[in-house]
Amino acid sequence: MRIKEHPILSVPSEKTYLTFYFEGRVVYATSEDTIASALIANGFDVFGFTEHKHPRGFFCAIGKCSACLVEVDGIPNVRACITPVREGMQVKMQVGRGKPKW
């Protein structure tokens, strides 16, 4: 859920939106978003699964814990929390360690 008003922070009403894809579905993001913030804002809490099929979201949001690994344009192990969004990027859930496509 996006915060629309805040007593301390300014929340710009005019935002530049861009779109990318998560598991083939269109996600609307602001140009300031990380992959993680855009997914959460759009209600996607599950970013992927562990080897043992446990759902996985983000945990630390600062690039330390590696809970939020996703596959971006075919490249696995991208940390969703510290990767800015890019127009048209294809983000996929990562299962386990992720398998690079050579």
Binding site: I3, H6, P7, I8, F47, G63
Partner: protein, 618 residues
């Protein structure tokens, strides 16, 4: 190609930034300094801190964290220091430092004469059932998301840990519009500052001491949490389990230093639990056991941002000293004195004990501990300070235009107020980072209590409110007298009219939500709406209908007429049978015009020719 710099700073948080400032200023050229940081924007964890910092003006006390970050970054850039973001130092080898630049997807190589490592800390994890379920977040992670990206990862939160981070995040969640069901804390007392705890308590958020989380409930996302009371050995007591319906759980159970890089330099690590676990062994100049490697901030021992900034300066001036061959002893000594003053208080005990194990001794005590009992002369508009612990903070003292507030010599002192000097201006209320100063004035019929307020909406004069005590419990009804707006600092003062005798009780308020007891479903008219109009003197059903449109929706009053008559009866004392019933007008249900027209057409076919735009043209 290997890039060679004189000083390489790892981390653009408060310690790294002040370190870079000290080096660049002293060397006279920022070109010799490069900062590398893996975040998207510089400032480390400062950009997500929306609260005002404690401390003194020299280190931005009473300025909000994200604003401090902006100021430091601006300073660093103005000195010509290059900050490389989205780049991670991946290895420190004997002959080279490797940096992975994520933007350009390339590993660059660096050499540095001096290294200042300020890599900060990581949030600790906690073992409980289902703890990897999406919706279980680090408290700092939630802060990042809501304050930097303006996204709330849930609506209803449980917070684990009542240290400063847990307390601050709870408060900030409410500011962002979320609900905090409870804060659970395993120990028998709140670990954070009392002023932070008081802020959340008076909002009505319970702090459950001697409680822990047992389980996160949910299949693919948190739907709830089970907490339980624990005994002296921190074991859950069977039968005390409670379930909270929440969609997010924040873990605020402490931080651990990010020591990987400093370890790779060959610097010796020591295990000191008081400092957060393994930390680099270092001297009072922040130098590690490797001659040209310095550390500062949370990496050197978990503490807070002000001391991180001071340590950054100390490390920076020492590096500058060696780079230039000049002496910056005076500046270094000044900063060491600052650290000494900050660390005298009771909340620095852990850090003092930890540093003692490294052979670095910091003195304690020497601050004003006495609590002021005098609440000032009755009838005078004045400030009352509720800051019960010795914490390193003094904006009340330095902001008071008449010099009425005094924390004593040391910054940890508990403030005292001289009521012969207080003019009731409220500046200290707006400046206090702990929101721990209130305004009071006894009047003839009622009293005024001024509350520091940083939430939305800002109430207008005359707004009816529930008056709450220090625990957030309803104690009386009141209303907003006026609001002293502070558009720059964003801490406003809401002055409440409270009943006599409640001056020392009321410390918060709740704006009464519009009644949701609907009487007329079609037009969404509540019981309160009807009662308000009756109070205006309108006691006739037909008249009520015209004013409120009650009974004029699609149902034609089938649902609401009896209830409205009952309310009229209750308010006027007349039996329902004596109240004018009002007309029952047709149609009794919405009827399409087409249907009406059709009926006419089938009765009399001649009419069809006269219908404009009708069946036949001439």
């Amino acid at each position: 190609m290997v890039r060679h710099v004189k000083a390489l700073v790892v981390g653009s948080g408060p310690a790294g930034l002040t370190g870079a400032i000290a080096i660049a200023e002293s060397v006279g050229d920022g070109k010799d300094v490069v900062i590398i940081d893996e975040g998207i924007e510089p400032g480390g964890q400062l950009p997500k801190q929306t609260h005002k910092f404690f401390g003194h003006e020299g280190f931005y006390a009473s300025v909000r964290g994200f604003e401090i970050g902006n100021l430091l970054v601006k300073k660093v850039k103005s000195l010509g220091v290059e900050i490389i973001q989205q780049a991670t130092v991946t290895g420190i080898y004997e002959d080279v430092i490797t940096v992975y630049d994520r933007v350009n997807n390339i590993v660059n190589e660096y050499l540095a004469d001096y290294l200042l490592i300020a890599t900060g800390a990581t949030e600790k994890f906690l073992a409980f059932k289902n703890n990897t379920l999406p919706g279980v977040y680090g408290a700092g992670a939630v802060q990042t998301l809501m304050n930097q990206y303006k996204v709330l990862p849930g609506q209803s939160f449980l917070i684990v840990g009542a240290g400063n981070i847990g307390l601050i995040v709870a408060y900030q969640l409410v500011q962002a519009g979320a609900e905090v069901k409870a804060i659970v804390e395993a120990s028998s007392r709140v670990g954070g500052y009392a002023v932070h705890a008081n802020k959340v308590k008076r909002l009505g958020i319970p702090i459950l001491l001697r409680h822990t989380i047992l389980e996160a409930i949910g299949k693919d996302k948190v739907r709830g949490a089970v907490v339980a009371e624990i005994d002296e050995r921190f074991k859950p007591i069977p039968g005390t389990e409670k379930e909270f319906v929440v969609d997010a759980i924040c873990l605020a159970v402490g931080l651990q230093p990010n020591v990987e890089l400093v370890a790779q330099t060959g610097a010796k690590l020591v295990y000191i639990p008081e400092l957060g676990g393994y930390v680099p062994l270092r001297d009072e100049n922040m130098r590690t056991t490797v001659h040209n490697v310095f550390v500062a901030g949370d990496l050197a021992g978990i503490e807070e941002a002000t001391t991180a900034m001071i340590e950054g300066y100390i490390a920076g001036y020492n590096i500058a000293q060696e780079l230039t061959g000049k002496s910056f002893k005076e500046k270094i000594e000044k900063m060491k004195k600052e650290l000494e003053e900050f660390r005298r208080g009771p909340f620095s005990k852990k850090v003092r004990d930890g540093l003692k194990k490294m052979g670095i001794v910091f003195p304690e005590g020497g601050y004003m501990e006495e609590q002021q009992i005098d609440k000032g002369p009755l009838g005078k508009l004045r400030a009352v300070i509720e800051c019960p612990q010795a914490i390193p903070c003094n904006p009340c003292e330095t902001s008071c235009p008449t010099g009425a507030i005094n924390v004593g010599g040391n910054i940890n002192g508990i403030p005292q107020i001289d009521y012969t000097k207080c003019i009731g201006c409220g500046v200290c209320v707006m400046k206090c980072p702990g929101l721990a100063i209130f305004m009071i004035q006894e009047k003839d019929e009622y009293s005024l209590v001024g509350i520091p307020y940083e939430l939305l909406p800002i109430p207008s004069n005359g707004t009816k409110v529930k008056l709450l005590d220090r625990e957030g419990k309803d104690v009386a009804d009141g209303e907003v007298d006026h609001v002293a707006l502070n558009n720059k600092g964003k801490t406003h003062i809401v002055f409440l009219k409270v009943p006599k005798g409640f001056e020392d009780v009321v410390r918060s308020f709740r704006i009464l939500a519009k009644s949701e007891e609907f009487i007329c479903r079609c037009e969404e008219i509540t019981k309160e709406d009807i009662e308000r109009v009756i109070d205006m003197g309108i006691t006739d059903y037909e008249e009520l209908r015209r004013v409120l449109r009650i009974g004029m929706g699609p149902c034609g009053g089938k649902t609401c007429r009896t209830l409205t008559l009952q309310i009229l009866s209750e308010k006027t004392g007349r039996p329902v049978s004596e109240i004018e019933l009002g007309a029952y007008r047709p149609p009794t249900m919405p009827t399409p015009f087409e249907a009406v027209v059709k009926s006419v057409l089938t009765e009399n076919s001649e009419v069809s020719e006269n219908i404009p735009g009708g069946v036949k043209d001439e």
